[in-house]
């Protein structure tokens, strides 16, 4: 008997539309574009800062329009999605075995959120916001 296995084609671009779990994955991955854009903005801000207080002030004024604020809000939403979606899977990568038991995932996730909150408070404190 002859063999003639059939290989089903795979769409290189549309595969992630085939299942909600792939779309969830892509929603996490696409956050890098927004975070990358924000990192670029931070670099530009630093560059302006190095040129003196006036250059910095005018740059800050230029990015306070409604469109900029909307863009930054989008970046914030994607950054939070990036952080939470990664935090929520940390127990998989970092299991903590205590004797014959494993520490429940909620404590490992919780520890990440706790460090996140503390780090945010420290940054806000250093920035003089609180």
């Amino acid at each position: 008997m002859s063999r003639k296995p059939f290989v089903r084609p795979v769409s290189k671009t549309g595969w992630w539309l085939k299942h909600p779990r792939y779309m969830r994955y892509m929603s996490r991955e696409v956050t890098c574009v927004f975070i990358g854009a924000f990192a670029l903005l931070m670099l530009c801000t630093l560059e302006r800062l190095s040129k003196g207080p006036e250059a910095y002030a005018s740059f800050i004024a230029a990015i306070q329009g409604p469109l900029s604020v909307l863009g930054l809000l989008l970046v914030l939403i994607f950054a939070v999605h990036n952080a939470t979606s990664w935090f929520n899977v940390t127990p998989k990568a970092l299991p903590v075995q205590i004797g014959e038991e494993f520490l429940a995932g909620k404590y490992i996730i919780g520890a990440h959120y706790a460090v996140w909150i503390v780090a945010s408070l420290v940054v806000l404190l250093l920035a003089g916001v609180i």
């Binding site: 002859s2 059939f6 795979v10 595969w15 994955y25 899977v89 127990p91």
Partner: protein, 251 residues
């Protein structure tokens, strides 16, 4: 004996005859099935009463042997574990496991997975080999728990069917094989990690994984291959730092 309640089940099964067909096509079947049956029972009823040419693999009918993996309405499932009561009012579309070539009907070619499984040496390579007269290799319950979950794999390949990385890059060693390598690496009696790392801590190995997590979602034995792969990444990264940053550091 009370008669089980019967229901007409509609199936759409992907058929492929390598001797006649140039590509697969769907064929519809209607068969009376008791409510309690699973998709595999419905296929058996089709084969026994309607179409004896239908080809598919199965053996244990109890989610242990791992032979009857199929796509049921687009989801990788053990067909012995896909209950008809979960598909009431639906046409049940049955296809061969995704990401594997189709041999005939619902039978796939599993050679690629078997080759990869061999490459990761999924067996105990004793750390301190000793003659059998000196007795067994002992292990504490805590040492057992470290890998027990990963030892539950039944090689059903549902994780490969769910993995988009494997679909796009068939060289990827993939979830189950890397998980089984990890299972032996985590075993206190084993000394084969260096040999396995050469296969799994590579671009074709664990670094092809981008942590979609689909493997763990479809695993019928709750093995959590995605967890195993991330743990291999962490351990391999620590290896790298030890090798490159510690004075006199070599594996």
């Amino acid at each position: 004996m009370t008669q089980l309640k019967q229901r007409l089940v509609q199936l759409e099964v992907l058929r492929y005859d390598p001797e006649k067909d140039t590509e697969p096509h769907f064929q519809k079947y209607e068969v009376m099935c008791p409510e309690e049956w699973v998709v595999l029972d419905a296929l058996n009823a089709v084969k026994e009463t309607i179409d004896p040419t239908l080809a598919y693999r199965w053996s244990c009918h109890m989610a242990v042997c791992g032979s009857c993996g199929m796509m049921v309405n687009g989801e990788p499932k053990l067909s012995c574990h896909a209950f008809l009561r979960d598909y009431v009012g639906m046409v049940i579309r049955v296809e061969p496991l995704a990401n594997f070539p189709i041999e005939r009907d619902l039978v796939t070619v599993a050679d690629d997975f078997i080759d990869k499984l061999k490459r990761v040496k999924p067996y105990l390579i004793p750390k301190d080999p000793k003659p059998i007269e000196q007795g067994e290799y002992k292990q504490t319950p805590a040492q057992l728990m470290k890998y027990r979950q990963f030892s539950m794999c039944i090689n059903c390949m549902l994780c490969y069917a769910a993995c988009p990385e494997y679909a796009l890059q068939p060289k990827f060693i993939g979830p189950a094989a890397i998980t089984l390598a990890h299972r032996y690496n985590q075993d206190s009696r084993d000394g084969g990690r260096d040999e396995r790392q050469e296969v799994i801590a590579t671009n074709e190995g664990v670094w092809e994984c981008s942590f979609v997590g689909a493997c763990s979602e479809v695993c019928p034995k709750a093995v959590d291959p995605a967890g195993a792969l991330q743990q291999v990444k962490v351990a391999s990264t620590i290896d790298w730092f030890k090798e490159h940053l510690l004075p006199g550091g070599s594996k």
